[in-house]
Amino acid sequence: MLWADEITQPMPNCDLLLANKSANIHLKEHLGKVLYVDFWASWCGPCVKSFVFLNQLNTEFKPQGLEIIGINLDENFSEAQTFLDKYPANFTIATDQAQQCATEFNVKAMPSSYLIDKKGNIRHVHLGFRADETAKINALIRQLLTE
């Protein structure tokens, strides 16, 4: 179980397939970067709003070493594709078809996001998405990037 007060746990490794099905990626490949792992699905209303925010984050922080991975959990990936056509993402989108990653991260709500430091430790767990919390997430990312 991962609650906000139990963080600083090492992140589980996940075997994911890129949305365009070109390659498999592993979360541990990104050690040394600050990782923002976001679990989303096409039927999840707040995910639409979070995509706008994640695109902004990616534009602002990618050059400084932030890697955003949006992990899709749709049971039918064609629904995710329709969502992506409507709300394009400029960050990495992958699928977790075996739902292994969501199970290991113990995702409790949709969307759920995990901020992971350069050493691979989960430093912040965020459930849902509300526009008034973006400043806090921005500050956390800045802090992790300087560590």
């Binding site: 679990f39 039927w43 999840c44 749709d74 049971e75 969501a102 949709m110 969307p111 849902g128």
Partner: protein, 84 residues
């Protein structure tokens, strides 16, 4: 003489054990399954809801709750998509 026939013995065994059999087999019939937040996409679709008219059902529920002076006396409402 009839009471000692094998047929009657079998009937008695069945009669004595049927209750236990039904009880223990009912334990296997539980229809509950845990659904993870990320597995609620299909369950959250409008066609999967118990009520075909959720807004009307809400009004009925309100009227029922007022009449019974017990708000929330019905099952909870909401789509249950697992969104936070």
């Amino acid at each position: 003489m009839l009471n000692h026939s094998p047929f009657i013995t079998v009937i008695n065994i069945i009669r004595n054990t049927t209750g236990y059999f039904l009880f223990f087999s009912s334990l296997l019939l539980s229809g509950c399954a845990s659904v993870s937040p990320w597995q609620r996409g299909i369950l959250a679709k409008p066609e999967m809801q118990l009520s075909t008219q959720p807004v009307q059902a809400l009004f009925y529920e309100h009227a029922y709750g007022s009449r019974e002076a017990a708000s929330g006396s019905n099952a909870g409402s909401g789509g249950g998509c697992g969104c936070y």
